[in-house]
Symmetry: C2
């Protein structure tokens, strides 16, 4: 499939990577923050399976390819200034490699 001109512009920024906020559709829980390049986004929109760009391994990464914890895409949107994506997903199993449901499981202490 072809992505829109706006999305193409978006993916030309920031070394070709865009930040992706991943939210569970059923619970509204924020599961993780990941990154996509153009290929990852196209693959995600075509296959409906969340596919990211791994900045540590420098490779495409079909979420859950080894763990089975895949993410089926329900909807996707771009933010107002076109530099971030919100992906709503059905999460199979857990999102985090630690076994936690969400990657955001470490609370920061707030003063006062």
């Amino acid at each position: 499939m072809k992505i829109s001109a706006d999305l193409a512009n978006l993916l030309d920024r920031e070394n070709g990577l865009v930040a992706v906020v991943v939210q569970e559709d059923e619970s509204n829980e924020v599961l993780m923050l990941a990154w996509m390049n153009r290929e990852a986004l196209e693959k995600t929109l075509e296959s409906h399976e969340a596919t990211y760009w791994s900045r540590s391994r420098n490779e495409l990464w079909v979420k859950g390819a080894t763990s089975g914890n895949t993410q089926e895409v329900v909807s996707a949107s771009v933010d107002c200034d076109g530099d971030a994506i919100l992906l709503r997903v059905h999460q199979k199993g857990v999102a985090c490699h630690t076994g936690a449901h969400s990657c955001f499981s470490n609370e920061i202490e707030i003063s006062g």
Copy 2:
């Protein structure tokens, strides 16, 4: 206040900036993606008012300072690999400069 060694490490990455997912506490709606440097994070945790680093203006940005649409911090957490923050907030008014409640208001068409 002092931030923990883990958080300090986090803020030494990526040119000193960390991605911040902002979620409304009442509705669980994802409102925006923003960035913080160490000063912004310290100010946020001390004042309980979300303060970001504006990458376009290159300056600290107390959210709502001019619009009145401030974000009171309810809780904050760091993700498993320590390179993103989730901030849960009470949003006063709307989050987006377009007048939309959330910055993620532009749906991407998904094939099939």
